[in-house]
């Protein structure tokens, strides 16, 4: 165990830092958010060129072997600057799902194209009725000739409005399979909308859609998706740590500057103590993020509990830090023109993404394990 960055990790963190310092002014982010994609394809290519998309991937899958810590470093930096490019949806959720899927020519080519920044992929897995249960799928797959037809409705599909390829889960008799779908194919409808933080997502309807290929046949499609989700959960939690950290810094600077009733806000003990509690929430989130990363390597039940403990704590912390950061700013924190409101909205979305606090506590309750964790 070692909690300090290696030279390589430090170099990656520094590089991420330089990236957002250069590219992510408040104004340029605003412009990017208002564009059709809600992010910049040029920047996405730049991110690919920097080698970050495959940073976590094993070398045999065409990556750099940096593992989940690499992704976490990138996502923490992206959280600090509220980066908009679809790293979470394409480079973590979709890529890790594919990396854990059975080997095939299609999979390998797709991995390669993703890492090269050539295609944007979205995983269409979640459904409205799942209520945070990652294993719940209603969408149906039926055999047709050599291929399959798919029927169902997928909700809050990250990255879908801009995706070149959809990975879709659907259920056949043998269980859940994972299918490749062209979003422009007939009978596919992607209804795009924005999340509260202004990012574009979509709901996807499949109405008798023909899928030529099963990336994973029914019965073997859920496992890679669950692993993809594990990595995505680590990713959003790292993003939350970055966003909370930035929100705390913004708030600290604001309360030291702003005066009321003849004193700086930071002179009020109530403000000091609230900020201390925010710092505690941030640091505990960072601690449990590390625990979640370690948990990725654990056997099934232990992994589930580790990941869900991480998300439950982080969801709660994200809401606490986000809400109080706005509170301490006062009315100005509620405005579009001030950065802090954007952090709150992103933290709100993160708190609810891939299951909120309740959903993950439920998952812990459903997944019994012996307790005496950490270095045992």
């Amino acid at each position: 165990m070692d909690f300090t960055l290696t030279a390589e990790q430090q170099a990656l963190a520094d590089s991420v830092h330089r990236f957002y310092e250069r590219e992510y002014s408040f104004e340029s982010r605003k412009r990017r958010l208002a564009s059709a994609d809600g992010f910049s394809r040029d920047l996405w290519r730049a991110i690919a060129d920097l080698g970050w998309i495959g940073a976590a991937l094993s070398e045999e899958d065409g990556g750099f072997g940096g593992g989940p810590i690499g992704n976490a470093l990138i996502m923490e930096g992206f959280g600090r600057a509220l980066v908009l490019e679809p790293f979470l949806s394409t480079a973590i959720l979709s890529l890790q799902t594919l990396a854990h899927a059975p080997c095939s020519a299609v999979r390998d080519r797709l991995l390669e194209d993703i890492v090269a920044g050539k295609v944007l992929v979205a995983l269409a897995h979640g459904e409205t009725a799942a209520n945070g249960d990652a294993e719940y799928v209603e969408a149906v797959a039926a055999r047709r000739g050599a291929g399959w037809t798919l029927q169902g409705h997928k909700s809050l599909v990250l990255g879908s409005p801009s995706a070149d390829v959809l990975l879709v889960t659907a259920k056949a008799e043998a269980g859940i399979g994972l299918f490749l779908v062209d979003p422009a194919a007939p009978n596919v409808r992607v209804q795009a909308y924005k999340t509260l933080d202004g990012c574009r997502v979509g709901d996807v309807w499949l109405d008798d859609v023909v899928a030529e290929e099963a990336l994973a046949r029914p019965g073997s499609g859920l496992a890679p998706v669950l692993r993809g989700l594990d990595h995505a959960l680590v990713g959003v939690c790292a993003e939350a740590v970055g966003a909370m950290s930035a929100a705390l810094t913004l708030t600290r600077d604001y309360v030291k500057l702003r005066r009321q009733f003849g004193a700086a806000l930071s002179d009020f003990q109530a403000v000091q103590h609230r900020m201390a509690d925010m710092l505690v929430e941030l640091e505990l989130s960072r601690s449990i993020l590390y625990q979640g990363i370690a948990g990725l390597a654990s056997p099934n039940e232990q992994r589930i509990r580790a990941i869900s403990a991480m998300k439950a704590i982080t969801s709660s912390a994200a809401m606490f830090v986000g809400r109080n950061a706005v509170q301490l700013h006062g009315a100005i924190g509620m405005t579009e023109d001030y950065a802090i409101g954007h952090y709150y909205r992103r933290l709100f979305v993160i708190a609810h993404l891939f299951g909120n606090e309740s959903a993950h506590l439920d998952r812990i309750v459903r997944t019994p394990a012996t307790f005496w964790p950490a270095v045992s």
């Binding site: 249960d133 909308y193 809400r323 509170q327 006062g330 609810h352 309740s358």
Partner: protein, 401 residues
């Protein structure tokens, strides 16, 4: 002590409920289920209907267009309006300015300004806060200098609710630069169409524009638009802010939220059946309900207390503090009831012709506006005296610390 509800109170609530059911137009009622900032034309249509019945400002003196209802009756009336999802009325004119003009305005001012408010014809904005005078109003800088029979107003107001709608604004302005900070302030009515008045919308994190900046540049305001005495603006503002002791609890809004949450959670599916049937969600809702009941009974205690009653006043001061917390909690729980779509932005344009665009697939009117409401309510513990200020008030004025 006696907690039985008088027969007349039951009868009054029935009368109000039946009137609203019959009088509220169906299309307004449907949009009311969106539960978000009401459209101006809906509010105006509804105010005209209420005004015809004599009920658009029940808390004003009867001879000026109000009623002689008791505080409890006025509360029940508001409660029924919320329950029916009626549009939220023009608070600035009816609740803030109205009582001041009733109490301190000249007969001419009353005759000119009150009827258009009652009928929803003219809308008002409140011009109190300034960039460096938020909770600390005494330090405001906007000045009004006498020039013949006019004041010349210069300065800037901010956080001006509804100013983008408003026809008029009532503003605190400094008419005496020499007097002590609070003594030099006057209460002035300003026509927003006067040359030199400009406004800039402030977009807030719920994706809506309800707040504004208002700029005054050599704006000429007739001296007849001064309310009461020059230099007494501070006391009128205090009167205005203290006028309704229970409104800030927003308890009827939160009760309406609870009905909405139950509705949405009954529709929401989960692997184990409707969301409302899951223990985690049902327990959160039960706890919220219990807290709202405690809040509502606190409101009832205040409504039944006389002005001078110490116990009643001590309860009044907690209504804003706890009411605003519960208000945000309710909105967050409503968003949670939407599942995945609780994080979706569902912008409703305020203009009459626009309809929501790029919405997620929302099957129920009640769901639209929920996530924006969750964002908007983040401000509940900030505006009208932030929670931190409320706690200090309670500690000092009630506990004597």
């Amino acid at each position: 002590m006696d907690f039985n509800i008088a027969h007349e109170i039951h009868a009054f609530r029935s009368e109000v409920r039946e009137f609203i059911e019959a009088a509220l137009p169906a299309d307004i009622s449907r949009r009311g289920r969106h539960d978000y900032h009401s459209r101006r034309d809906d509010v105006q249509r509804w105010m005209k209907i209420l005004n015809k019945r004599g009920w658009s400002a029940p808390h004003w003196p009867a001879h000026l267009g109000g009623t002689d209802w008791s505080p409890l009756q006025r509360y029940i009336f508001q409660d029924e309006l919320r329950r029916a999802r009626a549009p939220v009325l023009d608070r600035c004119g009816l609740d803030l300015l109205g009582p001041v003009v009733c109490a301190f305005g000249t007969p001419e001012q009353q005759a000119r300004h009150l009827p258009p408010i009652l009928n929803g014809d003219l809308w008002w904005a409140q011009g109190f806060s300034e960039p460096n005078a938020g909770s600390d109003l005494a330090s405001l800088k906007t000045r009004a200098d006498l020039d013949g029979d006019h004041f010349i107003v210069n300065g800037q107001k901010t956080w001006t609710t509804e100013a983008h709608f408003a026809d008029w604004i009532f503003a605190l302005v400094r008419t005496d630069q020499v007097a002590k900070p609070q003594a030099g302030i006057s209460f002035l009515l300003i026509d927003m169409t006067t040359p030199g008045v400009t406004r800039r919308p402030i977009w807030s994190i719920d994706g809506a524009n309800t707040l504004n900046e208002v700029f005054f540049e050599d704006v000429r305001v007739p001296i007849a638009n001064l309310v009461g005495q020059a230099g007494h603006g501070w006391s009128y503002a205090k009167f205005l802010l203290a006028h309704e002791r229970t409104t800030s609890s927003v308890v009827s809004h939160t009760k309406r939220d609870i009905e909405q949450i139950r509705h949405l959670a009954t529709l929401a599916k989960t692997p184990a059946g409707p969301l409302i049937g899951t223990h985690a969600f049902a327990t959160k809702l039960a706890k919220l309900e219990a807290e709202v009941i405690a809040l509502e009974w606190s409101v009832l205690r205040v409504l039944h207390a006389s002005e001078g009653d110490a116990a009643g006043n001590s309860v009044a001061s907690l209504l804003k503090l706890r009411g605003s917390e519960l208000s945000e909690r309710a909105a967050l729980l409503a968003a949670e009831a939407l599942g995945d779509h609780g994080v979706a932005a569902m912008p409703l344009s305020e203009s009459d012709d626009a309809t929501p665009k790029e919405l997620p697939p929302i099957e129920d009117d009640e769901a639209i506006g929920v996530s924006a409401k969750a964002m908007f309510r983040r401000a509940a513990t900030i505006y009208g005296g932030a929670s931190e200020v409320q706690r200090t008030i309670i500690a000092k004025s009630i506990l004597g610390l």
